[in-house]
Symmetry: C2
Subunit: 221 residues, 2 copies
């Protein structure tokens, strides 16, 4: 029997969590002790009811007339996201995007440590990128198992993406962060999150075009 999911938070809610976390850490750094949904609303331009709904999913309880304890809220969100206990990840494909991710310090705050990079290019193997070693793909499977790495990041060209994913699955990787435009085929017990820069660019392009026709129609009136 399928277990009834314990009221899973909507994906949009999950996506907004890091923004709350970022703001709260700023407030905490300034020494602020409590925060109301109204204040969060002003800073992030969400709706206040949405803020309350979102935060409720973390399990925190606020005080009427006061708001939420900033420090406590940070902890609830981190627990909710599982960002309090750090996970190790391997990155495959040390091209320009892959290299950037290897050096991207912000992941440390987000419970993710990219331990090493892998590549097939002999010229890259053995080098270091932002202090992270680049290893040959032949060592991937063995190291995943020995180090119990659960997360794999794919930054290879689209043509190689499925092959790398198969390799990751075979090695025992449980979650794949996919930076290629390819829809990966994986067993259902493996989680894939696609991060597609071109989706964002598409939205920007369309909004820009809409803005332009809007302005034309306004000026022509």
């Amino acid at each position: 029997m399928k277990n009834q999911k314990t009221r899973v938070a909507p994906i949009p809610t999950v996506r907004r969590m890091p923004a709350y976390l970022h703001l709260l850490k700023q407030l905490a750094a300034k020494g602020q002790e409590t925060v109301s949904a109204t204040q969060i609303t002003e800073e992030l331009a969400f709706e206040s009811i949405q803020v309350r709904k979102d935060l409720a999913f973390t399990g925190i309880v606020g005080k009427p007339r006061v708001g939420y304890q900033v420090k406590s809220l940070i902890k609830f969100i981190e627990d909710f996201l599982g960002w309090n206990n750090n996970s190790d990840a391997f990155l495959v494909g040390a091209g320009c995007l892959g290299s950037a991710l290897l050096g991207y310090g912000a992941f440390q705050d987000h419970g993710l440590t990219i331990v090493a990079g892998f590549d097939t290019d002999p010229a890259k193997i053995g080098t270091e990128v932002y202090g992270k070693e680049i290893l040959g793909m032949d060592r991937f499977r063995d190291l995943v198992r020995r180090m119990h790495v659960r997360i794999g990041i794919i930054c290879v060209p689209a043509g190689a993406a499925q092959r790398v994913a198969d390799l990751m699955v075979d090695a025992g990787i449980e979650g794949i962060w996919n930076f290629t435009p390819v829809k990966l085929k994986v067993p259902e017990n493996v989680v894939v999150q696609r991060e597609d820069l071109s989706s964002g660019l598409a939205v920007l392009s369309v909004k820009l075009a809409a803005m332009q026709t809007d302005e034309e129609s306004v000026t022509s009136e």
Copy 2:
């Protein structure tokens, strides 16, 4: 009077367009001439009705029993996204993520050319990253105007994001691609698209945790 928006496509539809485009180009390269929604469905794991709805927004008309003309469909999607006529962009912040974007070749296919990078670090100014020159911020405003650049990409640390955005707005930038976790405050005739890697990581984290509790509950049954 506000012009009635000509049936704007939903954002999720827009986000899926690049995936269609990517697949269609593959098919075209293999010499395939027509494609049905069913086939696209199989490749991308969307629903076939969703594919037809999405494609309809581009204005293409298919033939019952045949499907869509691959080449023609590519053109319709590119027109829809405005990716046929190339736009120039300036990128601010040549850190590791910024540098990666400067070198990311895929944007060329997406109607975006990053012309140059800007930074405040004297050590970076004057250097080249993946063949793109890094210029000082003092030249930003003037060059935006002279070259009629409409898109700005922000890859600076969060603390500097709003300042850079103000500068961009002042220079006449119309669309901002924001890679920081900050909610930018801009006039309403400027479009902002936030690209937040931490949102994606949040979704991956939560899905992974859910998968794990799922499996535990299954084995304990």
